[in-house]
Symmetry: C2
Subunit: 141 residues, 2 copies
């Protein structure tokens, strides 16, 4: 999926940023990880105001890199359902650390109380819940 | 430092991405965290080919948000020395998790062996070493 000619370096951080290093991509991962947003129209309504063309581009990119899956909607023929793959779910520790950093250092950074509580008390359990896709039941957002 | 009118949401991830959500900013943080690059010209030579105008912009942004400091160079009047602030050093767990995710899921993602070894065996010690600025002695990169 990756154009070998375009790789800037073999540094793991640089390589990872080729996929996730922009303003919007991790917000889609966040939505799929912590909320029940699964359709194109759901991501548009997430609150940060992503535009349709950027959303299309980022969904395609995430799919290309194997971070999300795209399946036909079981009830609506023209719609698709997106979800995190195993590789995408492995981003949970990164997102949780980033979330906590933002919360601790930036004004107005909010973490839903249930996530914050688990993040501070039992991070391992929180990662397990994410991997088991229990976030919806927990109604984190 | 943050223009309140421009905040898209109070989500900790979205807020954090306003600062760090681009291709280049975390590479400067990486350089300051793991290497002895401290001057403008050093970052230019990092290998990924950052341009001078993007570098200027990102250094100013990181300084505005209190993530890096900028001091006059003690020996060269016209130069400056950059370093991570306490707030910047707190990004260590996020960068380490991201590095590991990239290493485990992406082809051609390299982590220097000394970092990888500590990351897998004793992550807490690695974060301590970063906070104590011992990375240069360890010659991680």
């Amino acid at each position: 999926m990756r154009d070998q000619n375009k790789i800037r370096s073999n540094c793991a951080i640089s390589n990872g940023l080729e996929i996730l290093g922009d303003r919007w991509t991790l917000l889609i991962v966040r939505d799929l990880m912590f909320t029940n947003r699964r359709e194109f129209s759901h991501f548009l309504k997430a609150g940060e105001g992503i535009s349709t063309n950027i959303l299309s581009d980022r969904l395609e990119k995430l799919q290309c890199f194997g971070i999300i899956s795209k399946q036909p909607h079981p009830e609506h023929g023209k719609k698709f359902i997106y979800d995190l793959t195993e590789q995408g779910l492995k981003l949970a520790p990164t997102l949780l650390e980033f979330m906590l950093w933002s919360y601790e250092t930036q004004q107005n950074s909010f973490i839903p109380p249930k996530i914050l509580d688990l993040l501070q008390k039992d991070r391992k359990k929180l990662v397990e819940l994410i991997n088991q896709r229990k976030c919806l039941e927990m109604q984190f957002f």
